[in-house]
C-alpha cells in the first residue's frame, strides 16, 4: 500500500515537472529571451508572474524611500550596461531605494531594485557590476518562474503526502528542503552567469569574489562589535535561501583565477558618483546602531585617505555609541576633521556635544558657539544656544 502511494506521488511529481518546460526534443520552439524588446509572456504561469511583478513595480514607483536623482540612476544604469551589454540592459528598469542594507533584487518583468547600503559598500564599478550582473542573470534565466513552479510541485507533494501517507513528516521535511535547495542552486547559477558577464566586459572578474570577501569581513566586524563570534560556514543550512558567503567567495575566486583577466576596476568614477550621497548613506548606516560594521565600512571608504567628511562620520559613530572613552575619541576625530579643512560645519556641533558630555564644559560651549556662528539657521539652533548660555 505504501509503495503504491509513493509511486502515485512520484507520478504526480514527474507529471507536473514534465509540463513545466522540459524543452528536450519536443515540438515547442525555443522561448524568446525575456530581455527582448516588447517581450510578451506566453504561458499561463509566466503571464501571471509578470502581472504580479507589474503591480509591485507600480507601487515601487510611489515608494517614499525611492531615490529619484537622475545622476545616480544614470550612473547605476551605465554600470549595468557596461556589464551585460547595451541590448540586454535596455529591458531593465532600475529603482534605487534608500535602505541601508546590502541587497539588490530582480523581478520577473525586468524591475531591478538596488539598496543604498549596497552602493555604500561596493568599492568600485566592477564590484557594482558583479551584483547587477547577478541580478540580471535571474531575469535572463527566468529563475522566479522556475522557482514558482518548483514550489508548486513541492507543495503539491506535501499536500498529497499529508493525506495519503501515514507518517508523512519525513517526506514533507525533505520536500521543503528540496525547495530551498533549488533556490540555492539558482543563486549559484546567477552567480556564475554574472561572473561570465564580468569576464566578458571591461571589468575584472575578480571583483565578484571580492564582494563576498568584504561581506564576510563586515559581518565579522559587526559580530565582534556586538560581542558575538565571527563564524563562517561553507555549507548552507537546509532552509537557507542563498549559498553561504564563504562558498560564494570560494567558487567565484576559483573561477576568476582560471579566467586570469587583469583589467582596471574603475574606482575614481565610482567615488565621484557617490560623493554627493556619501554623507546621507553614512548617516543612515551610523543610525543602525551597528558599531563594528559601520566602523569597518567607514574604514574601507578611507582606504584612499581620511577626508574631513570621513573623519566627521567616524566621530558621529563614536559619539553615537557614547561610552566615556568613545566620547574622547569622537572629540579627537572631529578635531582632525576640522584641521583637514573640508569637514562640514556640523563637525563643530559634534565636537561641542562630545566635549560637553565629557565634562569639558568651557571647550564644548566654545565649539557650539562656533557652530552657531557658522550656521545660525540650523534646525536645532535654539536648543543648542540653551546649552551654550548655561
Amino acid at each position: 500500500m505504501r509503495k503504491l502511494m509513493l509511486a502515485l506521488l512520484l507520478g504526480l511529481a514527474t507529471g507536473a515537472a514534465g509540463e513545466s518546460g522540459a524543452i528536450a526534443g519536443d515540438k515547442k520552439p525555443l522561448p524568446l529571451p525575456t530581455y527582448g524588446q516588447a517581450y510578451a509572456p506566453t504561458t499561463v504561469d509566466e503571464r501571471g508572474i509578470w502581472m504580479l511583478a507589474d503591480e509591485d513595480e507600480r507601487r515601487l514607483q510611489d515608494s517614499p524611500s525611492r531615490i529619484k536623482d537622475p545622476e545616480l540612476n544614470a550612473y547605476v544604469r551605465n554600470v549595468l550596461c557596461r556589464t551585460v551589454g547595451e541590448d540586454r540592459c535596455k529591458s531593465v528598469r532600475i529603482y534605487i531605494q534608500q535602505v541601508p542594507f546590502f541587497n539588490a533584487s530582480m523581478s520577473p518583468n525586468g524591475t531591478m531594485t538596488v539598496w543604498s547600503g549596497l552602493l555604500l559598500r561596493v568599492r568600485n564599478e566592477a564590484e557594482l557590476g558583479s551584483i547587477l550582473g547577478h541580478e540580471f542573470g535571474h531575469f535572463e534565466l527566468r529563475h522566479q518562474l522556475r522557482s514558482f513552479r518548483n514550489r508548486r510541485t513541492g507543495s503539491d507533494i506535501m499536500a498529497w503526502a499529508s493525506v495519503l501517507v501515514r507518517n508523512s513528516g519525513d517526506i514533507r521535511y525533505n520536500a521543503w528542503g528540496q525547495i530551498y535547495a533549488f533556490d540555492r542552486a539558482q543563486e549559484r547559477d546567477a552567480d556564475l552567469i554574472g561572473f561570465q558577464y564580468l569576464a566578458g566586459s571591461q571589468y575584472p572578474s575578480s571583483a565578484a569574489a571580492d564582494v563576498w570577501d568584504h561581506a564576510m569581513l563586515e559581518s565579522d566586524a559587526s559580530a565582534v562589535g556586538r560581542r558575538g563570534s565571527a563564524r563562517h560556514k561553507y555549507v548552507a543550512g537546509i532552509f537557507a535561501t542563498h549559498p553561504t558567503d564563504l562558498a560564494r567567495a570560494t567558487y567565484l575566486r576559483t573561477a576568476s583565477i582560471e579566467a586570469a583577466d587583469v583589467k582596471p576596476a574603475i574606482v575614481d568614477r565610482h567615488r565621484a558618483a557617490m560623493a554627493k550621497w556619501l554623507p546621507i548613506f553614512l548617516n543612515d548606516q551610523i543610525k543602525l546602531n551597528d558599531f563594528g560594521g559601520s566602523e569597518y565600512v567607514i574604514g574601507c571608504l578611507a582606504e584612499g585617505g581620511w577626508s574631513g567628511a570621513l573623519l566627521f562620520a567616524r566621530g558621529e559613530l563614536y559619539r553615537e555609541r557614547g561610552n566615556p572613552r568613545d566620547l574622547v575619541s569622537a572629540a579627537q576625530f572631529y578635531q582632525e576633521a576640522i584641521a583637514k579643512g573640508d569637514a562640514p560645519p556640523e563637525a563643530y556641533r559634534g565636537l561641542g556635544l562630545s566635549l560637553l558630555r565629557s565634562q569639558q564644559i568651557a571647550e564644548g560651549q566654545a565649539a557650539l558657539a562656533t557652530y552657531l556662528r557658522l550656521k545660525p539657521d540650523a534646525a536645532d539652533a535654539a536648543l543648542l544656544s540653551t546649552l551654550v548660555s548655561r
Binding site: P64, S65, V99, N289, L353, L383, T386, L387
Partner: protein, 198 residues
C-alpha cells in the same frame, strides 16, 4: 463520561474563562489626574482616552482614541540608563540604542530617531522642528518628526516632548497619520502634554 472527567473538564473551562484572552484596555476618564507608565509622572487629560493593555516596554504605556495606528499617545516614565526606549524584538542582531548616563537634551530626539529606524526597519525618518521647552518643570526639548514604515506609503507625523530628570528619561510622544488624523487629536495631545507633572 465519568463524573471525575466532567469535574476536571469543568475546572479546566473555568480556569480558561477566568483569564481574559487580551490583557484588556481600560478607559481613562477626562478631568482626573492619573499616574502613567508605572512612574511618578502624572497627567490630566482633557478628553477621554483608551489606555491599551499591551505596553511598548517596561516603563511605558500607550493611550489611543481611535486605535493605535490612527492616534498613538505614548508615555515613557523614567527609562533608566542602559535600557532601550521600548522592548527589543531581536536583541542579538538588531539591538536598540540605550539611554546613556551622559545624555544631553540634544540626544533625546536622536534616541527616538535611531530607535524607530532600527525597530521599524525604515530610513524614511526626518525631524522637522526642534526647540527647547519646559517639561514637568525641567528644561527639556520639544520636537516634531515624520516617518513611514518600510513598504508603506503612509506618511505619519509625530510630536514629542521630553527631558532627562534625575538621570532618567521621561518623554511623551504623539503619532498619527499625517492625513486628517494628526490634526484631529493634536489638541487633545497638547492638553495632556501641557499638564504633565512629576
Amino acid at each position: 463520561m465519568s463524573t471525575r472527567h466532567l469535574a476536571a473538564l469543568g475546572a479546566l473551562t473555568a480556569l480558561l474563562l477566568a483569564q481574559p484572552v487580551s490583557a484588556g484596555n481600560t478607559l481613562v476618564r477626562a478631568g482626573q489626574r492619573v499616574a502613567v507608565a508605572k512612574s511618578a509622572m502624572t497627567v490630566m487629560p482633557g478628553t477621554e482616552w483608551n489606555k491599551l493593555g499591551a505596553r511598548p516596554g517596561r516603563n511605558s504605556e500607550t493611550w489611543t482614541q481611535d486605535g493605535e495606528a490612527l492616534n498613538d499617545l505614548t508615555f515613557y516614565g523614567g527609562i533608566e540608563v542602559g535600557r532601550p526606549l521600548f522592548r527589543e524584538v531581536d536583541k542579538k542582531n538588531r539591538p536598540l540604542p540605550k539611554v546613556s548616563a551622559t545624555m544631553l537634551v540634544t540626544d533625546i530626539p536622536v534616541l527616538l530617531e535611531n530607535s524607530y529606524r532600527v525597530a521599524l526597519d525604515t530610513s524614511s525618518f526626518g525631524i522637522d522642528v526642534i526647540e527647547p521647552a519646559r517639561f514637568a518643570g525641567n528644561d527639556g526639548v520639544r520636537f516634531t518628526y515624520h516617518f513611514s514604515k518600510q513598504n508603506e506609503t503612509l506618511q505619519r507625523r509625530g510630536e514629542a516632548r521630553g527631558a532627562v530628570i534625575g538621570g532618567k528619561l521621561y518623554m511623551i510622544t504623539y503619532e498619527a497619520p499625517g492625513l486628517y488624523y494628526y490634526d484631529r487629536s493634536a489638541a487633545a495631545f497638547r492638553s495632556v502634554a501641557d499638564s504633565v507633572k512629576l
